[in-house]
């Protein structure tokens, strides 16, 4: 498989959320708005790329029986490092008192550890492939996940709060409250997956 193909594979054909249906728990929790979905997706992409690279480099030194615990330690270490770095250097409020990037994303970062996409890619791809290919696979899957989260987030935000990325599009009277609550997340995700399946058949 060419490197380009590996990269795009995770984006559409094996989209983590729509096709593999991995990581639904953090997805439903963080897609209440398009911005949150995008933020969670980008943070996951970063960790996914690094963890795939780290695991591809170390996998052949790790005996099969302790594979999973070893991978989890590596992933958790990476996530904690990202969390510490972000809270140190992207943590000052904006000029008009907007919350810092870390304040907006902070709650999602620890959630990446329990995201099964990261462990899933480590198991299915990085432990059997070369470092560069693994890095690309991680970034591709991550961007696919980012796209999926942004899409679900945009739909929920539009129907629930009448805006997309904070930009007001619909009047407040047309807001359907349920879409920013948990049930709305399930409904939107279900319809989007159905649509993706339909499009894939043709």
């Amino acid at each position: 498989m060419s490197l380009m193909k590996i990269f795009t594979n995770g984006f559409i054909k094996e989209n983590p959320l729509f096709v593999l249906v991995l990581g639904t728990c953090p997805s439903l929790a963080t897609t209440t708005s398009a911005t949150n979905g995008l933020g969670m997706g980008l943070a996951t992409t970063f960790v996914l790329g690094l963890s795939n690279l780290a695991i591809a480099l170390t996998a052949r030194h790790i005996p099969d029986k302790v594979r999973i615990p070893a991978f989890i330690v590596i992933i958790a270490t990476l996530v904690t490092i990202v969390d510490l770095l972000m809270s140190a250097w992207v943590n000052s409020p904006g000029p008009n008192g907007e919350p810092s990037l870390y304040d907006q994303l902070g709650i999602f970062i620890p959630l990446i550890v329990v995201n099964c996409i990261v462990l899933g890619r480590a198991e299915a791809f990085a432990s059997k492939n070369k470092p560069i290919a693994s890095l690309l696979d991680g970034l591709g899957s991550g961007l696919g996940f980012t796209f999926a989260l942004s899409l679900v987030g945009s739909i929920r935000e539009l129907l629930g709060s009448g805006s997309v990325f904070g930009l007001n599009l619909l009047p407040a009277q047309s807001n359907i409250l349920i879409f920013i609550l948990a049930p709305g997340g399930f409904i939107v995700l279900g319809y989007v997956i159905a649509l993706v399946n339909r499009l894939k058949r043709t």
Partner: protein, 194 residues
């Protein structure tokens, strides 16, 4: 290169190696980021104080004192803002547990008479799109200039004069509770010390 075999020694040594390197990396990152993290937290606090207090020339962040909450459920922090040695206002770091998502922390600026100067939300876990409107200027502006000692802060439903956020009465109520707590506790504290 062949994969390592799953002998007991290999399992043990691999896990020990991985955890050792991980903890070394984490320790290093912690040492590296410790000071910037503390700085960022202090900067954030100073920023909130600056937002709720008018021109002061001292360092309220370093002259803070603790205030016992009026209902004895916790502690608030007061940051006095002085201009040429005269008190121009106090920023009170307050909280409530009555939010829809539990804890809400606010910074409330009170002038020497207890009138509300400005409010800033430090931490909240309200429902996105509903309760999160407590961070909006339009809602916070309802409180500016009010003296909670003359007219207790309550939403209209409870007989007060604050227009609650649509579909977020609980969050609005909690917000009132936190601001009222700031005033009552601060008043109680200054009375005791006079």
């Amino acid at each position: 290169m062949a994969k390592k075999e799953s002998t007991l020694w290999n399992l043990l040594s691999t896990l020990v190696m991985i955890t050792f390197f991980s903890s070394a990396l984490l320790g290093g990152t912690y040492l590296l980021t410790k000071d910037p993290i503390a700085e960022a937290a202090a900067e954030k606090k100073n920023f909130a104080i600056k937002k709720v207090l008018p021109g002061f020339d001292n360092h309220p962040g370093q002259e803070s004192y603790t205030i016992q909450s009026i209902d004895q459920t916790g502690e608030l922090i007061g940051y006095p803002g002085l201009s040429e040695g005269k008190l121009v206002g106090t920023a009170v770091e307050t909280y409530t547990m009555k939010g829809f998502g539990g804890l809400i922390r606010l910074m409330v600026g009170l002038d020497p008479e207890g009138k509300i100067l400005s409010i800033s939300v430090l931490e909240q876990k309200e429902t996105p799109g509903l309760g999160t409107h407590i961070t909006d200027k339009e809602f916070q502006d309802l409180f500016i200039g009010k003296n909670p000692g003359e007219m207790p802060l309550k939403v209209r439903k409870d007989g007060g004069d604050i227009d609650a956020i649509t579909a977020a009465t609980i969050s609005s109520r909690a917000f009132c509770d936190a601001v009222q707590r700031a005033y009552d506790s601060w008043k109680n504290h200054t009375k005791k010390n006079d």
